[in-house]
Amino acid sequence: MKWSNICFVTLGTASAVSGWLAFLPLPGDRSMNASQPGMLIHLRPWMAVACLGFAVALVVLRNGRYKRHAKPVTPSPWDGVTMSTMQKVMALRDEAVRSDKLTSVPIFLSMLLQPEKSRTRTVETISLEGRVVVQDVRVEMSLSALEGPWSMGTPASGVRGRLRGATAGPQQPSGEVYAPILTCLKREMVDNFEVRDRDGGSLDILCYEETIQLISSSLHFLIKLALRETHGGSSVTADRIDRAVVSFLMPICGRMSPKASATAIHKGLAYIGIGDDDLSDNVMWLKEFLATLDQAFPIVVVIPHTMDSQRLQISYRRTMVPPNKSRQARHRLRLTLGLRPVTMQMAPGMAHNSKVYHLQIKAPESQYLMEQTLRCTDCGSKLSNSEIETDGSQTCSHVKLSQEAEPYFQLLSKRGQNYAHLYMRGFTGMDWKKIRFTSSFGEVPPGTLASAVVTAATSLFLIGAVALAEARGLPRTSDVPALLLALPAVAASWFGFSSDNEAVLRSSLAARCSLLLGGLTSLAACALFILTRTVDHTQSIDSVTLMDNEMRWWGWVGLAYLAGVNFGYVLIQLIIRSGAYRRLLRKESVVNDNTVI
């Protein structure tokens, strides 16, 4: 048996024994009390304290054990990077040359580093209808939009013919094109991933080894490209290039810490004589390639030579439970009452990778859209179409700078629907991290608030009636009032905590607080009624009076006051929210005039 288990058993036994000594009668207690004088030091209070202390120690130790076991394992800064791994990876680079994958490198790089050129439309749907958040993404791509000698050309020429520049070489390619259609962050997982062409046919996806072939050969290609532009690049030997490739591939293939990864990339650049301050276009492509694959890994689809359609459609789904920070007392109260956040915040980052972007956030049918904003995260300002991008000054004033790219967005007006819809266009050249879309949802009235109003009204009516009867000294002939007083508490537990259990959004804080207060008030009134029933002077004389008449009177007044405040508060909430919801339903314009609500 482990020492921790022995400790738990000992503490539990000690707590049970001290609890027995503190609260339960010992054999011979009655005879001792009758025959002996009172003890100077009473043992029972000390046993109660000891029992409590042992119990607290047991809980603290047990909780500490769980916390220790739940601590995540910190990986090595160079996890997964070994010499044998790198030998295999470099062998895969040679394999890429023997196959025809090298010819696809230019189009691979273009789609990886400039995805906005091939993506025509992205539709992202966030569903909050279940117990978890589900993110569905559909991306439409047009490969004909790519420019360059390696572009896809016209449909009639076929894929083989479209690789005009890339197909030239000593080895005859098979005509397949390898297109990175999605660059997933390494810590994320994708499920239900599907890639389809315009006709609905499914397309193949490269496996890990084949993708590494493309990546390693692309790295070599990019180094050659960068060295053409750098001073003294032609004097870099093949050995130094290979060293740089090995160093660059370490963070791509392994799970390295950010610091170790940055060191490996820095050393790789040093092997080929490229400094941190070299910002020419060719070098920027190499650095951006490294930065991208340090954090993400591409999913590469195979476009066969038989495919004439130049349009693809990819779709994937992610299921998640987002972290829910709650440091403020209000949010802690919400969690304690079984509620969840009602606000969803998103960075519409995919608008910067696509010509057109749609974002839809769907709540359950029982919710409606209360608020939606597009804001700058630096200053918190709401954005409008004329004030989208910051001008680079420290004051964070928002202006529309570029006349060529016309960033435009539109929000669907609030009309009582259970979803938010954001449309964005022309955001491909902008700083994406500065924009956040926030949408808040509320329960469609009457909902749980109506239940709370009914419960509060019942509680107020019953407490008022019984209090009035007590004040007038009406004789008690049955126990029915006690049962009636407990009725709102039963209703509160029935209505309040059985709602919204299946949704990730739970928004009835006011209703739950009202139901809780109403239930507690009713239980207190029931207890007051039972405990004060013996003050009736017609009852037997040996019964104990637990409260005198004055305390009993103030007790009923206090309970009636609480029930009245509770009823008034929840009624006002219901009226306000119902009015706001009705005003939304009466709105006529579908689209906002100023695009911001």
């Binding site: 160079w78 230019p106 004033s397």
Partner: protein, 85 residues
Amino acid sequence: MTIRLSEKVVPPMPDDRPDGVYVVEPIEYIRSRALPDIPTLQNPEQVQSLLRDTRDSIRSCSPDNLTRLINEVFQDQEETGRVHH
């Protein structure tokens, strides 16, 4: 036309991940700025030349030499005390 931000006071957003809010980030790596086009990659002859150079360079490296280079890179990293293999 340049329009400045209005003077209307709006409540600030204090944090990227505020309390009581679900925050959903894109699954995809998003580049902060779009990359410029490279003229070299627009020229078919230069693209072919680059591909040829790349192919020749990769083929010129023998397996034994590659093993030696990988060993040297790891030794170089070990000197800084960061490699654990």
